[in-house]
């Protein structure tokens, strides 16, 4: 490990190991401020801001309402090390950068992916684009929705549109017979969107290299299918493109 990555690791530890603040006078995280001076990466500026967040453990008795974004919480504003405008600039730049990019451009050389199964078909989703997993599928079907929407369910106070993944991925094969056989047990959440994919089985989370994927060049037909993982011979999802397509075809803002 280089000195630089050491700093990143220590910063990671500092955040995770942040002790609950006592009810006494608020102490400034001295060590952390020093660490921040050593580095200027946008991510770490973000980490510094996060440090102002009141730890979850403080209000164990009265769980606080989760802020929609960690950046909006500002119960006790810390000394800001880098000015707001700088932080904003970085954020906007990152947004533009990721908006229309292809999955393989967003991923590191080596990345983790979760493999899951639907109607005999295996699909992979990069962990960095995964929003979470719900361990049940309890949806309410609303009239007038496309057939590939299984229904909506509420998860952590958020409404999630659950996609009937088999119907979405292979509409040509999806008949009443197949529909009867599919036994959805989990919902794979897509980033922080309102969309989740119903699936039958979670297989494994595995590290894969970008070179182990056959990336599709022309994605006009199925933009959500970024490529094929060679070893497992399964499709890998471009979550960003998928959310976009689901939102436009489901007439729901993702």
């Amino acid at each position: 490990m280089t000195e630089h990555s050491d700093i990143a690791v220590v910063d990671f530890f500092s955040r995770l190991l942040k002790e609950p603040q006592s009810s006494g006078p608020v102490e400034k995280p001295k060590v952390l401020v020093k660490e921040a001076e050593l580095t200027l990466s946008a991510e770490q500026v973000g980490l510094q801001q996060l440090l102002s967040k009141v730890s979850a453990f403080d209000e164990k008795d009265e769980p606080p309402k989760e802020p929609s974004s960690p950046f909006t919480s500002s119960k006790s504003k810390p000394e800001i090390i880098v000015s707001d405008s700088t932080a904003k600039e970085t954020e906007t730049a990152a947004d533009i950068g990721s908006e229309k990019s292809f999955l393989h451009q967003r991923l590191e050389g080596e990345f983790q992916a979760l493999f899951f199964k639907v109607a005999g078909l295996t699909l992979a989703v990069p962990l960095v684009e995964l929003g979470g997993i719900i361990h049940e599928v309890r949806v309410t079907h609303l009239p007038g929705q496309p057939t590939w929407i299984k229904g909506v369910m509420t998860h952590r106070d958020q409404k999630i549109n659950v996609v009937d993944t088999a119907a979405w991925v292979m509409p040509e094969k999806y008949d009443a017979n197949l529909q009867k056989q599919v036994d959805y047990r989990y919902v794979v959440l897509l980033q922080n969107s309102q969309w989740g994919l119903a699936c039958e089985e979670l297989l494994d989370a595995e590290s894969i290299n970008k070179e182990q994927v056959n990336w599709r060049v022309n994605t006009a037909k199925r933009p959500w299918l970024a490529g094929l993982v060679k070893k497992q011979m399964c499709g890998i999802l471009d979550v960003g493109a998928l959310i976009e397509q689901l939102s436009s075809q489901g007439h729901i803002a993702g």
């Binding site: 690791v9 942040k18 002790e19 609950p20 995964l130 361990h135 979670l202």
Partner: protein
């Protein structure tokens, strides 16, 4: 309660086997033991005959609900095993998403410590199994314990993974202003090979202060034990492997091990 974490950033070195074998030896002494699986592969549960995808709730749910943990809620997630006095807090594949879901929240490395605190009156020992990757789960496992056991397979290039693990511990200690005690445990020692004695000598040269002076031999009884979903202490109590883990336990519970 004593809390031990078995960790190594390398897979297949005997972490899970060490957790189960020590737990087995402890319950044979009449101790109440909780084993905790933080590895999304859930191989500890699998070893003990519990299919993580078949149980309704796991450590994952406790992480997701970390803001509202109570003792009874935690107890509801702990499952008994087929071994008397041995309970399991199981893992699930969904744990693989914890880094992404919760890794940005302050204090997320202290969830497991909080969980164990809540049930500490029910057990004499807690032994934590780790995934082989450095992430939120491993940080939780390390932050929750006083003593880290690092199994190292006595083979060619064994030290590479060990160096990385010890560096991780040191960086963490620097952050936490805590000093982890760690013990290196040579595993799968096969005296008929060239590599095993060589690796052991290397360990003695580089880590003599932290090296357990015994070793865990290679023993097919471990495979039999895992196929039978029982600790080796229960299915082959007098095997060389079982005796070796009993010695390790003696050492850990002795002055030096506890120090």
């Amino acid at each position: 309660m004593k809390i031990w974490t078995v960790a190594n950033q390398k897979g297949g070195v005997g972490k899970t086997t060490t957790v189960v074998s020590l737990a087995g030896a402890l319950v044979k002494q009449g101790k109440r033991v909780l084993v905790i699986d933080t590895d999304p592969h859930a191989s500890l549960g699998y070893y003990l005959g519990i299919d993580s995808e078949e149980i309704p709730a796991s450590l994952y749910n406790l992480f997701v609900e970390h803001q509202s943990l109570t003792e009874s809620k935690i107890q509801a997630h702990i499952v008994p095993t087929s071994v008397d006095h041995l309970d399991l807090l199981p893992a699930a594949m969904a744990l693989a998403t914890i880094d992404r879901q919760l890794g940005h929240e302050d204090g997320m490395g202290l969830v497991l410590r909080n969980i164990i605190d809540n049930v500490s009156s029910s057990y004499d020992y807690a032994i934590i199994d780790c995934p082989p990757v450095l992430g939120v789960l491993m940080v939780n496992a390390l932050a929750a314990c006083e003593q880290v056991l690092i199994p190292v397979q006595t083979e060619f290039l064994a030290l590479k993974g060990l160096d990385r693990m010890i560096k991780t511990l040191k960086l963490m200690d620097r952050t936490q202003q805590q000093q982890h005690r760690f013990i290196v445990i040579p595993t799968m020692f096969d005296k008929r090979t060239k590599a095993s004695p060589l690796a052991l000598r290397e360990l003695q040269q580089s880590y003599s202060d932290h090296l357990w002076n015994g070793l865990i031999p290679i023993d097919t009884k471990f495979r039999d034990a895992s196929l039978a979903h029982t600790p080796v202490s229960h299915c082959a109590p007098n095997s060389r492997g079982s005796v070796a883990y009993r010695r390790l336990l003696q050492f850990l519970d002795s002055e030096r091990g506890v120090s």
